[in-house]
C-alpha cells in the first residue's frame, strides 16, 4: 500500500508536534556537546513549515517536500537549516508530481535526501552527526526492498535502524559539526542531530503505520 499525500502532510505535522515535545531534550543534548540551540532551531523551523503547509496542501508530494525544505533553509539557520532543508529539497526531487508514496518512492527520496546531506555536510558514518542515524535507516530500507515486507514494517525497521544509529553516536568521537571542537570530550554524548533525524523517521513509522 502507498502513503497518500494527506498522510505525508500528517507526518510533517506530527513531526512538528514531536519537535515541540522534544525541544528541551534536543537542546539539552546540544548543550553537552554544542551550543544549546538544536531544539530551538528545529522548533522555529517547523513552526515556519506548519505555517507554509496550508498553501501547498493540495499540491503534489514533491512540491510539499520542496516547500518544507525551503522553509527550513530560510528559518532555521545553523547547521541544521541547510542540512534538513537540503534533505527535504533533494528528497522532493524524486517525488515530483506524485500524489502518493510507495515504499520504493520513499526509499528513493530518502536516498536522495541523505545524499544531499552528505554532499553539503561531508560527514561520513561514524563522524557523530545526523548521518549516523540516516544512513542505517536507508540501508534498512534497501535491505527490505528484496523481502516481502509491508511498507509499515519496512518503516519500522528503518526507524529501528535510525535509533540504533542515534544511540551509536554516544561512544563516538565527533569529527564534524560543533561537537568536533570538543575532541575527546565529545565522547559519551548522543548527537542532537542524529536524535532529531531518528525522530523524523520514527514519526513516519508511527504515522504511516497502516500502510
Amino acid at each position: 500500500m502507498a502513503v497518500t499525500r494527506d498522510e505525508v502532510i500528517s507526518w510533517i505535522k506530527a513531526y512538528g508536534q514531536v519537535i515541540t515535545e522534544n525541544k528541551d531534550y534536543l537542546t539539552d543534548l546540544d548543550s553537552a556537546i554544542g551550543d544549546a540551540d538544536h531544539g530551538a532551531n528545529m522548533h522555529r523551523g517547523f513552526l515556519a513549515v506548519l505555517a507554509k503547509l496550508p498553501a501547498v496542501e493540495d499540491k503534489d508530494i514533491g512540491t510539499i517536500f520542496k516547500t518544507v525544505g525551503m522553509a527550513l533553509i530560510s528559518t532555521v539557520g545553523g547547521a541544521a537549516g541547510p542540512l534538513y532543508g537540503t534533505f527535504f529539497i533533494q528528497a522532493g526531487t524524486k517525488l515530483n508530481g506524485k500524489m502518493d508514496l510507495t515504499l520504493a518512492d520513499w526509499t528513493a527520496a530518502l536516498d536522495a535526501g541523505i545524499t544531499g546531506v552528505v554532499n553539503i555536510g561531508k560527514a561520513n558514518v561514524g563522524d557523530k552527526t545526523m548521518v549516523d542515524a540516516l544512513t542505517p535507516a536507508i540501508q534498512a530500507l534497501n535491505g527490505a526492498t528484496g523481502q516481502e515486507l509491508s511498507m509499515s514494517d519496512a518503516l519500522k525497521k528503518s526507524a529501528k535502524a535510525a535509533e540504533e544509529g542515534m544511540k551509536g553516536t554516544i561512544p563516538l568521537l565527533a569529527h564534524k559539526g560543533r561537537a568536533s571542537y570538543l575532541g575527546e570530550r565529545s565522547i559519551g554524548h548522543q548527537d542532537p542531530g542524529a536524535t532529531s533525524s531518528f525522530l523524523l523517521l520514527d514519526t513516519a513509522a508511527n504515522v504511516w503505520v497502516n500502510n
Binding site: 554544542g34 551550543d35 544549546a36 540551540d37 539557520g77 553539503i120 569529527h175 564534524k176 560543533r178 568536533s180
Partner: protein, 333 residues
C-alpha cells in the same frame, strides 16, 4: 535565567528595533529577512563587506556596520547562523558595483548558509567572494574535523578590510588581504562561567565555583579542558603560549594585541589580563604596536576573556588607524 529581555523568541527582533532607534545616522535595519546595512548603502564603486552569524556576540557584527567597516551584518537567532536569504538580500542591498566580500566565521552552519547565499547571489550576477576566518587555536586543525572556529580575529579583520574597502581597493585584493590576515592571526578564549541562551533558559554548561573552561568557544561550546581556577596571570600565560606557539609569532614581529571580554567580565579585569599579555609578548620579543581591549566579540553574559594576536605590517597599521565610524568601534572621525 536573569536577563533584561521580554520573550526569548523576541530578543533579536527587539535588539534590532533598539539599534534602529539608536543609530539612524549609522545604519538602516531591514526586517524579514533581517539585516543591518550602512545608512548610506550602497556605496558606489566600493567593495561591500558583509558579515553575520548568530546573535549574542554584540557588538559584533551589527555594531560594526558603518563607514570604515562593514556594509551589512546579518544577525541569526542567538548562537545560530543566519539563513541564506538574509545574506542574499543584504548582498543585493549593499552591492555598489564593485562586488561583495562575505566574511564567514568557520562554523559548519555559517559556512553552509553563506555558501548557499553566495551561490544565489552569483546566479543573480553579483561578484561575491567569501573568506573564512578560523583563528581559534583551542581547536585542533585537522582534515578530519570541522576545523578551527572563527573568533576574535573576525573583529580585527572587519576593521582592517573595511578600511581597505574604503580605499576602493578591488575585490580580489580585498579578499586576499582578508586571507592574509586570517593567515597571520590567532586567538584563544576561556570562560569562568557559562552563558545562558534565552531559549534554553539555563546555563549551557555547569561550571563548579572552583573551575573554568580553557579553550571555550563563543557559543558556550565547552572548551577542550576544564581545570581548577587559576590566577589571571596563569590564565594569560596559558592563552598566550598557545597563541604564540601556534603561528608561531617570532621575535621582532610587530603585533596587534586584542584582549576581549566575553560579555560578563568587567573592563577592570581585562586590563589586568592585558598587563600580563603585554609582558609575555615583550618577553617573546614581540612589539605590540596596536591594541584593542574590551567586549567586542561576546558570548552573551559569559564571564571570561579571549586573546587575539595579529601580526602587523605597515599596511595593516595604516588600515587599523584609518577612520571608522560604527556603533561599536569608532575613531578618527
Amino acid at each position: 535565567m536573569k536577563k533584561l529581555i521580554n520573550k526569548p523568541e523576541d530578543v533579536v527582533l527587539e535588539e534590532l528595533k533598539g539599534i534602529e532607534k539608536a543609530h539612524p545616522d549609522l545604519v538602516k535595519i531591514h526586517y524579514a529577512p533581517d539585516y543591518i546595512i550602512r545608512a548610506d548603502a550602497p556605496v558606489k564603486g566600493k567593495v561591500a563587506l558583509i558579515s553575520g552569524g548568530g546573535s549574542g556576540h554584540e557588538p559584533m557584527h551589527g555594531g560594526f556596520v558603518g563607514m570604515g567597516m562593514l556594509d551589512a551584518a546579518c544577525p541569526g537567532a542567538v548562537f545560530t547562523s543566519p539563513t541564506p536569504d538574509q545574506m542574499l538580500e543584504a548582498t543585493k542591498a549593499v552591492d555598489g558595483g564593485a562586488g561583495v566580500l562575505h566574511i564567514v566565521k568557520n562554523y559548519t552552519g555559517d559556512v553552509m548558509n553563506f555558501q548557499m547565499a553566495a551561490d544565489m547571489a552569483k546566479e543573480e550576477g553579483i561578484d561575491v567572494e567569501a573568506v573564512v576566518v578560523d583563528d581559534d587555536v583551542a581547536v585542533k586543525d585537522s582534515l578530519w574535523t570541522a576545523g578551527r572556529r572563527g573568533v576574535g580575529l573576525t573583529v580585527l579583520m572587519e576593521k582592517l578590510v573595511g578600511a581597505a574597502a574604503e580605499e576602493k581597493r578591488p575585490l580580489k585584493e580585498i579578499a586576499n588581504l582578508a586571507r592574509k590576515i586570517n593567515g597571520q592571526g590567532r586567538s584563544m578564549g576561556m570562560a569562568l562561567t557559562s552563558c545562558t541562551t534565552p531559549s534554553a533558559g539555563k546555563p549551557t554548561f555547569d561550571l563548579p565555583e572552583d573551575e573554568m573552561e580553557i579553550g571555550v568557544g563563543i557559543h558556550g561550546e565547552p572548551g577542550r579542558t576544564r581545570t581548577k581556577l587559576q590566577t589571571a596571570d596563569q590564565i594569560t600565560e596559558t592563552l598566550m603560549k598557545a597563541i604564540v606557539d601556534d603561528l608561531p609569532f617570532m621575535s621582532g614581529d610587530k603585533v596587534l594585541l586584542f584582549v576581549n571580554g566575553m560579555g560578563g567580565t568587567p573592563l577592570i579585569e581585562l586590563y589586568i589580563v592585558y598587563r600580563k599579555a603585554v609582558e609575555i609578548a615583550e618577553k617573546a620579543g614581540l612589539k605590540v604596536v596596536r591594541n584593542l581591549i574590551g567586549p567586542y566579540i561576546t558570548s552573551l553574559e559569559m564571564a571570561g576573556t579571549s586573546i587575539t594576536l595579529l601580526k602587523m605590517d605597515d599596511d595593516l597599521i595604516k588600515l587599523w588607524d584609518a577612520p571608522v565610524k560604527t556603533a561599536g568601534m569608532r575613531w578618527g572621525i
